[in-house]
Amino acid sequence: MANVLLIRYGEIHLKGQNRGFFLRLLKEDIAAALEEFGAEVTLGQGRYYASGIADSCLAAAVDHLTRIFGIWSVSVAKEVDKEFSVICETAAALMQEELAKRGGSCTFKVFARRSDKNFPMTSNEICPELGHVLLERFPGLSVDVKEPEVSLSVEIRERAYVYTNEIMGPGGMPAGSNGKAALLLSGGIDSPVAGYMMMKRGLELECVHFHSFPYTSERARDKVVSLAALLARYCGTVKLHIVHFTDVQLALYERCPADQTTILIRRAMMRIAESIARKNGCKALVTGESVGQVASQTLDSLVVTDNAANMPVFRPCIGMDKYEIMDIARRIGTYETSILPYEDCCTIFTPRHPVTHPKLDRIQKSERAIDDYERLLQEAIEKTETLVVSGSQASG
């Protein structure tokens, strides 16, 4: 009785003529994730099957799958012959395990689905019959059709599949199925979450980080590499562009009004990120901004920041509270790294009283006063370092 992984996809169901494209992409992602386990991946009716994985590796294989966008859920199922007596024995063996975990008694419900209409019993016949067999066999069992502790599922497809578990995947669309965007990745909590959310929608990401040595340290840089690696666990590898930004900050500090420093820095970042994005085939920018969170994220500030970019800027955290963002960060495994204390070493570029309602014309006037503004940005772009960060580098 072989174990097989049943892998369900989510939104791809809704696709029409291009469904095949998405299914192929997702199959490649699944096959790549399970390659190390020697799995064979096939596409069946509404499901992928992964077989040939050693029992001792099943948990690790499922863990890998829960990070693949496009997957709705995964079940570890027993694959058996389409023989009702065999199905009963398999179900009994699984139920025995569930009972053992629960001290000998639990409630259950049988779910059945028959897509092979040649099988002699209908779904509505399988459920009561199998339930009856199990009740006779195990005195500790009782039926609860509303909130069962154990859901025993039987699917009659290419073969018969019996299982008691369903592990949720991340949902979303297959990685890279929607083109490429550039994420402005700081060392904080929000931007990795924003990146994750857009990757989940099928965007491939390139990350752009602004480094301000000696105002931030080598450890701050390592922290961002770690965050990029944590994101890369969901897509294999990401490119990380590290922009040496100090000279731009110093110029803005010296030549512009103090209260405008923050917004001017944000605009310079957008411009540099856009330039790097275009060079690398990205069609949008992604930021972790959330409206109202800090001075640079008031609606007026966002309007002025947005104005600096000439490509769409996606802000998936825009309507979220800090706590909601933190919850996602914990779930996707970036939170613990984000809170390491190596960011914003120095607050000299953060004015004590920043403008919270900047006026676009005044900000533009400040920028025009810097006659070599374009050259400064260009130099920072030229000094950018690019790393390819792999998900296997991620720690923890």
């Binding site: 000696p214 340290s217 010296e254 103090a258 204390p341 070493c345 120095c346 004590r352």
Partner: protein, 381 residues
């Protein structure tokens, strides 16, 4: 590279590395084993023990090898505390101790012990009279560091010891000698317990020693096979001990010369730096403190930024105050001598070894002078 962070750690000397390698790859035997080659290793361990003990005016049986300063401090304090019958005995230390002592005293305080922290003066010295005042008949242990690791103040251990003995001769006196050993002339010390760490004097990390005089009752540290006469179980780190022995011999051979050389460099660097505007010396006067530690505050500059800017120029120093948002501007040790706020944020520690040169002092001062001009243009506003 100009390495001025020798109080963090030092380069392992060629002789020490060779000794370690020899006892790792050739005479690698467990010195507790029964056969002759192992006995040979044991002889080397005992030879080093005797030499180190003699340099401190103690008997070989009074010196115990440990994994380093932190373990020595822990055994000295907790091992002593755990044999006290009085659960509310008094333990006295200072506000400027290294965390290896300070945090152990905090742990004692949590068990209900009567813990007293003495405040040093602005030069980082503990007043013997104030210590005498604090010692009472229930005082089990006093721990005062020999040389402070951040600003280099040196304690007069003899005066402190007399002050303790006059009030309570039963009280043990421990000193954390991690920054003192090899930085002050060798000789007998008026203490009951003394901690040393190999990697601060060109031996590898992971080896150290605790001097513990005969009269001390101490439960020791980790339990096990009973090595180090039951004070510190665990397979004897023979290669570390041999390396520490080699480093010690090199140190002793050039003792007077090294101390004079480091002092000259320190005075040179201090003269350069203190002639720059808005640079303040923290701790004792340059000619009074330990020969290898100089702590200065560069007002209007964040220490960590200056550190990274120097790093970019191949010069490595340390800052007492991490710039990280979690503990911004907070440094207990500097605060204990009244260095706080902007002055603490701008503090840099330069710590020397005999390997440094006058040219390095001049170049460091020159780079700092240039950097101050640039960095001071940017302050939070």
């Amino acid at each position: 590279m100009i390495y001025l962070d020798n109080s963090a750690t030092t380069r392992v000397s060629a002789g020490a590395a060779a000794a370690a390698r020899h006892y790792m790859t050739e005479e690698f035997f467990n010195p507790s084993a029964m056969y002759a080659p192992a006995v040979q290793v044991e002889r080397e361990v005992e030879r080093v023990r005797a030499e180190l003990a003699a340099s401190l005016g103690a008997k070989p049986s009074e010196l115990y090898f440990t994994s380093g300063g932190t373990e020595s401090d822990n055994i000295a304090i907790l091992g002593t505390a755990s044999v006290q019958r009085d659960p509310h005995a008094r333990y006295i230390t200072t506000e400027m101790e290294h965390p290896a002592v300070y945090n152990v005293f905090l742990a004692l305080a949590r068990t209900g012990a009567d813990v007293v922290f003495l405040k040093p003066d602005s030069a980082g010295r503990i007043d013997p009279a104030a210590l005498a005042e604090a010692v009472n008949e229930r005082t089990a242990l006093v721990s005062v560091m020999h040389v402070n690791n951040e600003f280099g103040s040196v304690q007069d251990l003899a005066a402190l010891s007399s002050a303790i003995a006059a009030k309570n001769p039963e009280t043990y006196f421990h000193s954390d000698g991690v920054q003192g050993f090899g930085k002050l002339p060798f000789g007998p010390l008026p203490v009951d317990l003394y901690s040393i760490s190999g990697h601060k004097f060109h031996a590898p990390k992971g080896i150290g020693a605790l001097l513990m005089k005969k009269r001390v009752k101490n439960a020791g540290g980790q339990l096990g096979g009973g090595q180090e006469r039951g004070v510190r179980s665990g397979t004897t780190n023979a290669s570390g001990i041999a390396a520490m022995g080699a480093a010690f011999e090199e140190l002793r051979a050039a003792e007077a010369e090294n101390l004079r050389h480091m002092r000259e460099l320190k005075l040179l660097l201090a003269n350069y730096l203190l002639s720059l505007p808005d640079v303040l010396l923290n701790g004792p006067k340059a000619e009074e403190g330990a020969p290898h530690i100089l702590n200065c505050s560069f007002l209007g500059v964040r220490g960590e930024v200056l550190l990274h800017a120097l790093e970019e120029r191949g010069i490595y120093v340390s800052t007492g105050s991490a710039c990280s948002s979690h503990k911004k501007g907070k440094n207990r040790v500097l605060a204990s001598i009244g260095v706080e706020g902007e002055r603490a944020e701008g503090a840099i520690r330069f710590s020397l070894s005999a390997e440094n040169t006058p040219e390095e002092m001049a170049r460091t001062a020159g780079e700092i002078s240039n950097l101050l001009g640039v960095l001071r243009r940017f302050r939070r506003r």
